[in-house]
């Protein structure tokens, strides 16, 4: 893969998956409609290349599918489970948290569990309160569960490759609304899972993951071009867990002002976790209290979810307040 070559977000995920399966004969895919008819398109062609034994269409049994992934891990296999959409992780919550995430810990490291749970965020698909949410905060405080929420093809590619190397499962929150995004995958980040400064800036730092990082970058550009130009640094987490404490603290110290943007309500997720982290800074290290821009404490409606979600406008406004 040449550094110049560009991919869409979706192509990057598909490529990482394909390459991981080619590299590891013990990697396999479970999901509904992941075979001949690749419903999300990410698994397209995998069944032809790797065969029906390693690309398996399943009944509507996500709890068992993820539990089976944990059981397969006990014999050295890596299962990639594709959920129809992120909200569905709810029916497999026990398998994710108890069966998969606790395996390495409870067996005192005797068994590893490099499981990959692809949970596509379905926002803007008009699937209503049970079919369009982000669901990251359900898992934010679960130890030994990596969470990836890529904002670019490069983040998606490298975080997915990285997931196959871990002793613990990864919840991979890809965002279908970002599928058309295009860019290079770039070199392997070192360390893998490091937060990415997508835009330099010295007045304040915006920290976000996934689609919110994309909007934050747009907001930063608009601020830079505005009459009263401001210079917003943008940090894209990519890996939400483990949280890259170092990069966050560094950006916070450097700019003295921090805005965190997330699509979920404000009582959980990476937002409050980062505010909690920033409270570890010495008194006066920040010029202002960190600010969290989140959606109100409500579910996502079928119609007009955009009305309750952060937007480029609301990010710009929040940044202005923070800079005032």
């Amino acid at each position: 893969m040449s550094a110049a070559e560009t991919f869409t977000y979706k192509e990057a995920i598909a490529r990482a998956l394909r390459e991981a399966m080619a590299a590891n004969p013990k990697a396999f895919v479970l999901g509904q409609d992941v075979g001949k008819f690749s419903i999300g398109g990410v698994t397209k062609g995998l069944i032809d290349e790797f065969g029906a034994a390693r690309v398996r269409d399943c009944p509507i049994s996500e709890s068992a599918m993820i539990g089976m992934g944990a059981g397969a891990a006990m014999n050295g296999y890596t299962a990639v489970i594709e959920l129809a959409y992120a909200d569905i992780a709810a029916v497999a919550f026990s398998s994710i948290v108890h069966s998969a995430a606790k395996l390495h810990y409870a067996t005192n490291g005797q068994l590893r569990c490099p499981l990959v749970i692809r949970s596509p965020i379905n926002r803007f698909s008009r699937h209503g309160p049970m079919g369009t949410d982000v669901t990251l905060s359900w898992f934010m405080n679960v130890p030994d569960l990596d969470i990836a929420m890529p904002a670019s093809p490069g983040e998606a590619y490298w975080l997915l490759r990285h997931a196959f190397t871990r002793p613990v499962p990864t919840l991979f929150l890809e965002d279908r609304s970002l599928n058309p995004l295009s860019g290079p995958c770039g070199p392997r980040p070192d360390p893998p899972g490091r937060a990415r400064t997508v835009r330099k800036g010295s007045d304040a730092t915006a920290i976000a993951a996934g689609r919110m990082a994309v909007l934050a970058e747009k907001a930063a550009e608009r601020l830079a071009r505005s009459e009263r130009p401001a210079d917003l640094r943008v940090v894209s987490l990519g890996a939400v867990k483990p949280l890259d404490r170092g990069s966050i603290l560094e950006a916070a110290r450097a700019t003295g002002r921090v805005l965190i943007v997330q699509e979920e309500p404000p009582l959980g997720g990476y937002g409050p976790a980062i505010q909690s982290l920033l409270d570890e800074l010495p008194m006066g290290a920040l010029k202002r209290q960190p600010r969290l821009l989140a959606r109100p404490d409500t579910f996502l409606p079928y119609n007009r979810e955009e009305n309750v979600l952060p937007s480029v406008d609301s990010i710009v406004a929040a940044a202005r307040e923070l800079l005032a």
Partner: protein, 317 residues
């Protein structure tokens, strides 16, 4: 235990076959109308057409007003049968704040409690426990009413279904499970997701009486539902295994996921429930081509104007 093979084709006392056709036609025309709206970009929401499965809606005509129905997302016919109107549906599809769900929930999960139409769930299988819980309250009240839980055959894979059926069986709840057994789960044929096509063998051990139903025959659906209702009220939860076929796509937001279905589709088209009912009315129902054409025009007109007024209401904002 399976039901004694009862008469399945005679006209049920007190039922008007022309109303069977009206309900099926309304459903058919509504689904086609919604598909057009989606194609034209007139609506953003997705629909899950029940083309070919319209006869299942006739079950509603064998129920009492107090009976509750927990539909699947492909149960438009039974929802119409319980009294929801095309205009109510369009308002939900548009997601109007004035709609019963206030634009918050997808239209195929819309609840109209006053009509006994209860919410479904986006989590496949999730509405089996809620339906069983509703049946428990009917049981506690000795209300003489039942709960009908409608599921697709793909729901057999979901643990929630089994948990709910086991409890409904042990507690002998007034619970009727109606399976839209169309043999597919999106792209997967039934044999990719379970060991046998019939659902009855899975459900009987839970303490359910079961009955295989020709899901494309409105008479069989009506009689079987009446039977199941009586059984459930007598403390024998019942299950109707309705064999049918999805004559249209899986949903309005992507194309046909099934492959190599040309022959079976053609075979099932010959069993189109709407055509069957029209044919029956002509041959045995003493109806005429003109009368049927008029009925169709009437329903089509009603749907078109329902859309207009729902649209107007939304535009007023």
């Amino acid at each position: 235990m399976t039901a004694p093979s009862a008469q399945r084709n005679d006209v049920p006392p007190g039922a008007a076959p022309v109303e069977f056709l009206r309900l099926m036609l309304r459903t058919r025309l509504f689904e086609e109308f919604c598909m057009r709206l989606k194609k034209e970009g007139a609506v953003l929401g997705n629909t899950y057409p029940c083309l070919g499965q319209e006869a299942l809606g006739v079950a509603a005509l064998a129920l009492a007003p107090g009976d509750a129905v927990f539909p699947s997302y492909r149960s438009r016919a039974i929802v119409f049968g319980k009294g929801a109107t095309a205009e109510q549906h369009f308002r939900e599809l548009i997601g109007a704040p004035e709609s019963e769900q206030g634009g918050r929930e997808v239209f195929h999960h819309a609840a109209f409690p006053g009509l006994g139409i209860m919410p479904s769930s986006s989590m496949i299988g999730g509405w089996a426990p809620t339906a069983a819980g509703y049946a428990l309250t009917q049981h506690l009240e000795r209300s003489g009413t039942v709960t009908v839980c409608v599921i697709g055959d793909g729901v057999l894979g979901a643990g929630d279904l089994h948990e709910a059926l086991n409890i409904a069986g042990v507690w002998k709840l007034p619970f009727v499970l109606m399976v839209e057994n169309n043999g597919y789960q999106v792209s997967a044929g039934w044999n990719q997701v379970r060991a046998q096509r019939a659902i009855a063998p899975y459900v009987q051990p839970y303490g359910f009486v079961t009955r295989p139903v020709d899901g494309n025959n409105p008479f069989d659906v009506f009689h079987s539902t009446a039977w199941a209702r009586a059984e459930a009220l007598a403390g024998r939860p019942a299950m109707l295994d309705c064999e049918t076929y999805r004559m249209g796509g899986y949903s309005s937001h992507f194309g046909e996921p099934r492959t190599g279905i040309e022959e079976e589709l053609a075979a099932w088209r010959r069993r189109d429930p709407v055509a069957f009912m029209e044919d029956w009315l002509l041959r045995q129902g003493g109806s005429s081509k003109q009368a049927l054409a008029a009925l169709r025009a009437e329903e089509a007109e009603a749907i078109a104007s329902a859309w207009q007024s729902a649209r107007r209401e939304a535009d007023r904002r």
